[in-house]
């Protein structure tokens, strides 16, 4: 079956682990990440006409997901309800995600990543975690490829310093 014949719903489900991981990178909370993925999936179905079925689905979905996150946070940012996510210990169920998170925070690379400015962290996450190309990252963030490269290069230099590489 050609890729174009696979229902969009199934293609979204197929990259669910990637979507969840990227959502978690943005919001740092498992419960919010799931809401965000669901919201992005529904928006994707609404705007399915904007998807070029011949291209990879990840960049298109990531862009929708990131925009959904911006919309989610727009109000809270100025209304005083913003959660200091790093300070808010997450309440999780019995799925072990708290353990996972604790392990992540012990990870030197994750900790170093968390200290970078948002602008740099988001290009690192897309290129190095989610394995998007420079061009795809530019499309997701809505910025020129050259800007992706300059941010990414500065981020790598800063990360190398923090990790003692070189």
């Amino acid at each position: 079956m050609a890729q174009g014949d696979v229902p969009l719903e199934d293609r979204i489900i197929a990259i669910l682990p990637n979507l969840n991981r990227y959502a978690y990178s943005l919001c740092r909370r498992h419960d919010v990440a799931e809401d965000l993925v669901q919201l992005a999936a529904l928006r994707a179905l609404e705007s399915r006409a904007s998807y070029d079925g011949a291209t990879r689905i990840e960049p298109w979905m990531f862009r929708i997901l990131r925009n959904a996150w911006i919309d989610m946070t727009r109000r809270t940012r100025t209304r005083g309800t913003e959660l200091e996510l790093s300070d808010a210990p997450e309440q999780v169920g019995s799925d072990g995600s708290r353990v996972t998170e604790a392990r992540l925070m012990l990870d030197a690379t994750e900790r170093a990543l968390a200290t970078l400015p948002e602008e740099q962290r988001e290009v690192l996450v897309l290129v190095c975690y989610e394995e998007m190309s420079y061009a795809e990252t530019a499309e997701i963030l809505g910025i020129p490829r050259g800007t992706v490269m300059s941010r990414l290069s500065r981020a790598r230099v800063a990360l190398a310093e923090r990790l003692g590489i070189n």
Binding site: P17, D35, L39, L42, D71, T78, Y129
Partner: protein, 261 residues
């Protein structure tokens, strides 16, 4: 760091990431063989790449929350079948200890349902979002903002409140650019009786064009604010108009100063 150094870093990084075109890559390889300093600098980019890939692999081991796939399938099926304003999607049971701020008060299915409402708004509209009790709200004039509101929008920074002369309060929420690049502000007007309206108005040269106004009900006794039901429409509005992220306060101040001229 000179601009030239930056440029060189970007070339080395693109090489480490496999993003350099073949011709440029061969040219760089010739230089790398001859210049030890350059080769050492390259290790910064290959080293960070390796460290991040390893961290990403550790993250990938984390399992999806139990039942997440089934819930997402149900949500998508519900959106396709219903598109009703009822929340037909079995939203995931939340932890009993959900944040007191109501931080996760989003209802994706209902947002999808209300998208249809928000598409194609040319001028302005108002929607009463069933606040249940209370008298019928007074009619609002949409075409022209009253001068008090308009003046406040010209000056009040987001995050601050301003008392209007008639006893109402205007709370500036955020500024952003819409998809067409117009400077827009989201704000709330709180009447003396506590009834609140959430609005978006965009720069129209001389004044402000109201694009959206939502009856957000009354402020609850506990001081909690907008019920999620009215914000779904707001979210849908943002999603369909290509609104950008909130402007940082210095950018907002600059845009307001520009208007003043």
């Amino acid at each position: 760091m000179t601009e030239e150094d930056d440029r060189q870093d970007e070339i080395l990084m693109a090489y480490a990431d496999g993003e350099l075109p073949p011709a440029e890559a061969s040219a760089l390889e010739a230089r790398l063989a001859a210049e030890p300093d350059l080769a050492e600098r390259l290790r910064l980019f290959t080293g960070t790449r390796d460290a991040l890939s390893a961290a990403a692999a550790r993250r990938a081991e984390a399992p999806l929350p139990e039942g997440m796939e089934a819930r997402l399938r149900a949500a998508m099926a519900g959106a396709a079948a219903g598109r009703s304003t009822d929340n037909v999607v079995p939203l995931r049971a939340r932890a009993a200890t959900a944040p007191a701020q109501g931080g996760s008060a989003w209802a994706p299915a209902a947002i999808a349902a209300s998208l249809a409402l928000a598409v194609g708004l040319a001028g302005g509209f108002i929607l009463g979002v069933g606040s249940g009790s209370g008298p019928t709200p007074p009619p609002l004039t949409l075409a022209a903002l009253d001068p008090g509101v308009s003046d406040a929008l010209d000056t009040v920074p987001s995050g601050e409140d301003a008392a209007l002369e008639d006893g109402r309060t205007l709370a500036a929420i955020a500024s952003f650019e819409d998809g067409a690049g117009a400077f827009c502000r989201e704000y709330e007007v709180i009447a003396a009786d506590g009834r609140r309206t959430v609005s978006v108005a965009c720069d129209a040269g001389e004044g402000w064009d109201m694009r959206l106004a939502l009856d957000a009900g009354r402020e609850a006794a506990d001081g909690s604010f907008v019920p999620a039901s009215s914000l779904e429409v707001l979210d849908a509005y943002y999603a369909t108009t290509g609104a950008g992220a909130p402007l940082p306060s210095e950018d907002e101040a600059a845009r307001l100063a520009d208007r003043d001229r």
